[in-house]
């Protein structure tokens, strides 16, 4: 698979977690350590993944 395809798969996986964990795993956890903490870590993971990719960009005209 190309790098681009891997990135799309990773993105789809993140979106699947976005629904699966809060609604099916943490639905009875009425604490800050439940959905609140999950979504915070989950978004941080998405941001870090984007950074990993964008840091490899190089100037095409520089």
């Amino acid at each position: 698979m190309t790098k681009s395809a891997w990135a799309w798969v990773w993105f789809a996986f993140l979106l699947a977690l976005d629904i699966a964990i809060p609604w099916y795993v943490l639905t009875s956890v009425e604490k800050v350590s439940g959905a609140f903490l999950f979504w915070t870590i989950w978004a941080a993971a998405a941001i870090i993944s984007a950074f990993i990719i964008l840091l490899k960009w190089r100037g095409v005209e520089e």
């Binding site: 979504w39 984007a50 964008l54 190089r58 095409v60």
Partner: protein, 500 residues
Amino acid sequence: MSATFWVWFGIAVYIAAGLGIALMARRRLGVGVSEFFLANRRVGGFISALSYSATTYSAFMMVGLVGLTYFTGVGALGFELTYLCGMFMMVFFLPRFWLVGKKYGYVSPMELLSDRYQNKGVGATTAILALVFLVPYGAVQLMGVGYLMNGISGGAIPVVAGIIIAVVCAIAWSSIAGLRSVAWTDSFQALIMIVTSAVVLGVVVAALGGFGSFFSKLEAASPGLLTVPTAGGAWNINMFIGLALPWLFFLISNPQVSQRLFIPKSVTAMKQMLGGFLIFGFIYTLISVLWGFSATLLVPGLENADLATPKLLSLTMIPTGLAIVVMIGITAAAISTIDSILLTLSSVWARDIHKGLINPKVSERGELRVGQWVIPIMAVIAFVFAWWAAGKTGLNFMIAPLSAAASAGLLMAVPTIFGAFFWKRATALGAMVSCITGAIVVLIFQITGFRPLGWWPGTWGFIVCAVLFVGVSLSTRPPKEKAEEFIGYLRGALKKGNFI
């Protein structure tokens, strides 16, 4: 002196500072359409990042998201962070928009679509979509400012006065020097937004005994708000998808933000823009949601959740001076969004409707003049909508759902945009039929409240739109030569820059 006096004083200082910055920007204004609407594609990374942040984050966050969290709990965090996760798609779209923008000289995202599909009808269709659905989104910003000024002044400043102030500032910021004045004032406003909101959160959390105590009190007082679906029944999966789906694709569906993908001056500036925005967005989202939760503890029982922020800022624990500075920060957030919307709509009207359909031979000067006239006209339309909606109550007229409803309409352009970059077989007819039909479905479902299977209007519209886009494209002839050239160029350029 009374709080109302200080509110007016704060507003006056803010307007004076913004006006000063906009006029400074005007000194560097060159000539031409690309200069006015895109600052000649020469914007640095720092300004690009702050301007993108201020344009994206609006009254929606510190008024709407706070209210939504107050009313419905932690699902609001998931919903907003889903948007931020959607920004991961920037690693695909930012370089693509930027590269073709430079190569073909596109001024608006709609012009890109017209050229790629070799049909001006595609640009005009998506332009009309933007004109229809960005008005309520712009109006939401105005409502936010109105509520806020009214709340902080204890009702002394009418909601409509706040709305008028926001309209006048937005017209000024966008007219004075186009994108230059918008980007510079945006950057100033983004800094006010994040610093002031963080300071208030610090004060509130300290008053609640620190983060540990705050979270313990929250778990004890409102445990139902910390899970999904919430105890009150909000945030079932249909509601989440209905609200989050338009947000997920906001980066490409909303032209006032996708147009910004044309402006960075270099790859380095592009990296700084995306990286800076992701950090800003993460922090600002957490602050907004924590404000909402703190309001559930400190000002419980509000009937209109959009008043959570004004009520929070009216508490005696928040010094009046700080509350006024924060009010300015939120006003700045709203105005920085609506001025960008006005600027984008004016470029879309001038380039994609006036030049594209009405008068193809118009001079660049004439095109610019048309665009500048559109700014106040769209502002007045948004004002009328805001005035009307501000008098209504209920979930559908809360700032956050109203914003998501507007974005649901814009979502209908998403398959067309994906097709432009990734599918050579995509056709103009597929694009137009899918956008128009999808938008009609969204409007009908939105107005009638009809929700088969409990799915929200944006969800249904998107399904209909995507199916039609693929189906009609497969049964019509694509612009083969342009598709090969456009996607072929991107393939080579992406490889060169190590983009994916």
